[in-house]
């Protein structure tokens, strides 16, 4: 993305386009990455509710995976995931492994 110079900035740095945070990729901040273990998922959507960003992707009321462009790897989803019979459907793994 070409960066604006100081003359091109919107007045007072206002964000004039609603939802443009989506264009700002924050995935590189992550040091741990959530991995979805689909066979343990009961589709409770706790991960979607608790995600402090909007990095849990849902289609037709079903969790379908993570938006790794925006997930910062906080691990809240993995913490809240009830899993199936004690087996988590979300596990955190170190980036780069």
């Amino acid at each position: 993305m070409k960066q604006m110079n100081w003359k091109e900035l919107p007045h007072a740095g206002a964000c004039l386009k609603a939802g443009n945070a989506n264009e700002y990729k924050t995935g590189s901040w992550r040091s741990f990455k959530p991995r979805w273990v689909e066979e343990n998922c009961i589709q409770c959507l706790f991960c979607w509710i608790y995600c402090p960003d909007s990095a849990v992707m849902v289609k037709d009321e079903k969790m379908i995976g993570f938006d790794y462009d925006h997930c910062k790897g906080c691990g809240v989803c993995a913490m809240e995931c009830p899993g199936k019979k004690g087996n988590k459907a979300i596990v955190m793994e170190e980036e780069g492994k």
Partner: protein
């Protein structure tokens, strides 16, 4: 053609409150503090008497007062507040946010000493404390100047090339509480002069949702600050233009600084606000005695007109800059500006006196002492003490 005026006898606080009434801001959040209290006292009476459309918000602290100013201004309102000393100090973090968001908020700052020791009287430590906050700063010698600069303030702050908050300074008690004869403009002339406010990107324009105040990281922060610097540079031209227009309709002429007998002056004093009035009397006396004395009184302190001040002072032999605030361990804040203004040419000898802290009187004989020392420096070309306190027991 000069507009209709009315001559009145009022305090500085009453004069500023009258200017606020005529400006009729949309919102006025405040937490009254001595010696600025009189402004809110008079203004809230205008509100309860239905003389203005303003919504006053009496908040729980000055930090909240400035926060409410920022919220109301971001929403799209014309906003004003009044404060002094510790009040301004408590606003400090929000002052940067007001200027960073480029909100043309108007503050009447009735200058008072900062504690400790606790003191309620006039000096410029509060005004100098907000020097680097990104606000335009105008300083006023008397009630007339405080009224006139307040009337001009929105036109300067709201100009499309500026859009910065503005503070109008006057000396606590000496001006805020003393009654002077001065002239008010007629309501309709103020209304016409100030005009309608058109906010840029107001939050209450709900058809166009937006965010202000988002996080900006190292990849963009400097670009925002450079744009802010440009707005401050533009403010110099806008202050001059608005003042010229104001002079046309009122006959009262204001430059970026006042030059009093400066053209051929060999010894020059530089001072802000009310002290300039007393200094003018002493300059007259010394002129009668054959001394080529003069005064430079800055009106616009931020942005500071370095080139113009430098040019106005270049023929002087010696200059004493009188500061009513100190930067402990450094020179007085006004001295540092004047020294910078003189740095480009091999100009006069310049030195610094600190006076009048905490409301200590500056008497005519104190000024005579300074003038005499400046005459001696002009002759010898040598300064004994670059910075020294006067009006202090030693």
């Amino acid at each position: 053609m000069a507009v209709a005026t009315k001559t009145v006898a009022v305090t500085g606080n009453q004069a500023v409150a009258e200017a606020f009434r005529q400006l009729n801001p949309d919102v006025m959040p405040a937490y009254p503090i001595t010696p600025s209290t009189g402004i809110m006292e008079s203004f809230t009476k205008f509100v309860s008497d239905g003389k203005v459309d303003t919504e006053t918000i009496l908040v729980e602290s000055e930090h909240s007062a400035m926060s409410a100013c920022i919220g109301a201004a971001a929403a799209g309102g014309r906003v004003a507040t009044a404060t002094s000393a510790q009040g301004m100090a408590l606003m400090w973090e929000m002052l940067h946010i007001a200027s960073g968001y480029r909100l043309p908020i108007l503050m009447a700052l009735v200058n008072r000493a900062l504690s400790a020791p606790l003191n309620i009287h006039g000096d410029h430590s509060d005004g100098m404390g907000m020097r680097d906050c990104g606000w335009i700063q105008l300083f006023c010698e008397n009630a007339q100047e405080a009224y006139d600069n307040t009337i001009m303030a929105y036109r300067i702050a709201e100009h499309k090339d500026v859009r910065l908050p503005i503070a109008v300074n006057m000396d606590g008690f000496i001006i805020s509480h003393s009654i002077e004869s001065m002239r008010y403009m007629a309501d309709e002339d103020v209304k016409k002069f100030v005009g309608e406010y058109i906010a840029i990107d107001p939050l209450l324009d709900i058809d166009n949702p937006k965010s202000i105040g988002a996080l900006v990281l190292p990849d963009y922060y400097m670009e925002h600050k450079r744009a802010q610097h440009e707005a401050m540079l533009n403010a110099k031209r806008v202050v001059a233009d608005v003042s010229a227009e104001f002079a046309k309709i009122t006959g009262r002429k204001y430059d970026l600084f006042e030059a009093y007998h400066l053209d051929d002056a060999e010894v020059v004093l530089v001072a802000l606000n009310s002290a300039a009035g007393t200094i003018k009397d002493e300059v007259d006396l010394y002129r009668d005695k054959g001394v080529k004395a003069g005064l430079l009184k800055p009106r616009m302190f931020r942005p500071f007109p370095y080139e113009e001040v430098g040019a106005a002072l270049k023929n002087a032999k010696a200059i004493c800059v009188m500061d009513r605030a100190d930067s402990y361990g450094g020179y007085g804040p006004l001295f540092m500006e004047i020294a910078s203004a003189l740095s480009s040419n091999k100009g006069p000898v310049v030195f610094n006196k600190i006076y009048g802290l905490g409301g200590r009187d500056l008497m005519p004989h104190d000024i005579d002492q300074v003038l005499d020392e400046t005459i001696a420096v002009a002759k010898s070309g040598k300064v004994k003490m670059m910075k020294e306190y006067i009006t202090v027991r030693s």
